[in-house]
């Protein structure tokens, strides 16, 4: 058994976010991090590695600097990593991205008892679409929103969260599972892991390497292969300034209550 974990390097949108005058994100001025849900996917894979000794491979698609993130994941305990990178892949929407990553997974080789893990969604796009779309392209079953995962031989049982409870779902390997933060607490890099991170193999898959996979066609990857286009992007306006009330005492609260009654709000 081996586990392939799909990860993404994302701008840290929880901190200060810079927007260019033309309404695009000023990525250069922002820190990049490992997408939070993907860390839970990595942890889930490493837990299975602790139990079974299986191999764990981290896969990402992104520009060459994403290698730094993959080295961090190796330092956490992954055995090796694959960086899918190429100009031809740029501008891909979720459909085109899933075609490319699925082709990368085909190149690694998905066997009968393998599992693919993804994070639920990335904090830059928040789409949650790439995981299920990779599963479709690989023609394997998917279980999303996993809060608990049990693997016994080829049988996989997952607690899948719903808004109003959960369902327990069973499937067989090979399959794809998307992970949420309730699943586990991601571990830190170990000192030994950091020391060894640069001696572990890192495979770079570019367009010439993947182009013979039937999933990789001119009209299924990159900007041309993306069924969706961005028509406009814009920043929302700030709401007009409200009223700051003087003080923070009984009189202030009395004034507020008075206004709300007068305006029929309470």
């Amino acid at each position: 058994m081996k586990i392939i974990v799909c990860v993404k390097q994302v701008p840290d949108t929880s901190g200060k976010v810079a927007v260019n005058p033309d309404g695009t994100l000023d990525r250069a001025s922002m820190l990049t991090i490992i997408n939070p849900d993907d860390k839970n996917a990595i942890e889930a894979a490493l837990k299975l590695k602790d139990e079974t000794g299986c191999r764990v491979t981290a896969v990402t698609m992104g520009p060459p600097p994403a290698e730094g993130m993959l080295r961090e994941l190796i330092a956490m305990g992954c055995d090796d990593a694959v960086l899918i990178s190429g100009r031809e892949f740029g501008g891909s929407d979720t459909f085109a991205t899933s075609q490319i990553i699925a082709a990368g997974i085909n190149a690694i080789g998905l066997e009968e008892d393998d599992i693919v893990f993804c994070g639920r969604q990335a904090i830059d796009g928040d789409t949650a679409q790439v995981g299920p779309q990779i599963a479709e392209k690989l023609d394997i079953p998917q279980i999303s929103y996993a809060a608990d995962i049990k693997v016994e031989g080829k049988k996989v049982t997952v607690k899948r969260m719903l808004e109003d409870g959960y369902m327990t779902v069973e499937t067989q390997t090979p399959c794809l599972i998307t992970c949420i933060k309730e699943l586990n607490e991601p571990r830190y890099m170990s000192v030994a892991g950091i020391v060894g991170a640069y001696s572990k193999p890192m495979d770079v898959m570019d367009y010439p390497r993947l182009k013979d996979d039937p999933l990789i066609e001119v009209d299924t990857i990159g900007l041309a292969g993306s069924p969706t286009n961005i028509l406009t992007s814009f920043t929302p306006p700030q709401k007009g300034a409200g009223m700051m009330l003087e003080g923070a005492d009984k009189a202030t609260c009395e004034q507020l209550a008075g206004i709300l009654v007068k305006k029929h709000i309470i």
Partner: protein, 378 residues
Amino acid sequence: MSEFKNTVLEDFKNVWVFCEQRQGVLMPTDFELISEGRKLADELGVKLCGLLLGDKVEHLAKDLAGYGADEIIVCEHPLLKDYTTDAYAKVICDTVVEMKPEALLVGATNIGRDLAPRCAARLHTGLCADCTHLDVEMSTYKDFLRENSTLPEARIENVGTAMVLGKPHDVSKDLKMTRPAFGGHLMASIICPRFRPCMATVRPGVLKKAPFDQARADAVVITKPEVKLCECELKTKVLEVVKESRKLVDLTGAEVIVSVGRGISKDVEGGIKLAHELADVLGGVVGSSRACVDSGWITADHQVGQTGKTVRPRIYIALGISGAIQHKAGMSDSECIIAVNKNDSAPIFEVADYGIVGDLFKVVPLMIEEFKAAIANK
């Protein structure tokens, strides 16, 4: 599937809404989507159809039609009783291939966001995730931009043409799907100009539900296509479905929400108790910021914001919430926002209608007293 040609756009007609049910009960999102779908179908001059999957669910069709659907396509099969990705994706894709809708809307629930990408990948079409606004008609789209963006008027006037594969494309007949990205810092309008059906998942609680129309409900047309499904094709099995017995707070349906943030850290229990007392005075419920959920102070069903619930109550009171953009993304459409925070430069004051700078533990008891008195004296 391989025979399916979805680049001949004229072959595709009508707007469809996937109507999700769980244990035979329709989801509130269905009514929001049918109401919105009615508007879009009218703008396109086509029919609005609901797509309902399940086991013995035909009786739900009238409830859906009353919100604006002309037709409900009912797919019934014992294997559709509980949701599984493979059974639902197969039946939906089969029906789409056969009946060729031009647009398919799906609620962005945990089930919708599992199902829609799988279908879009199989149908080779575009899917826009978690939309908060939809338009076809150009004039209403431009008005939407005027009100909700900082784009200059000259740019808005010229928004009708997009470059698609290097050629100018007229977007006046395209569904324009608007959604937040980068945690709400940016908004983007997406089109799917080359393939059909154009697909979108739509965030629950954002679109307005129309009034129920009994005449429409009674006039519903029910279509039942043949469902071809065999257990042998299904690779996943649902062992059990568990409704959490804990009573979840209904944030999206609440008229008044009193939310707590990191500001309660010095006395978490006391802070939450105060929020409940204030909420009780106004007949509301308690919400929270992500920080409180992540710290384990309150359960996730209380969370308002980008990764929690989107709410727009009549009154939203933010106690000790700094107002990260992710939080504001989930509550800034509330009718009246009141914020209490110790820090006078907290971003929450940018969206607040009324702000008080002070310690919530001192201010809230006074607010409770004054609100009670004001309501009693009305």
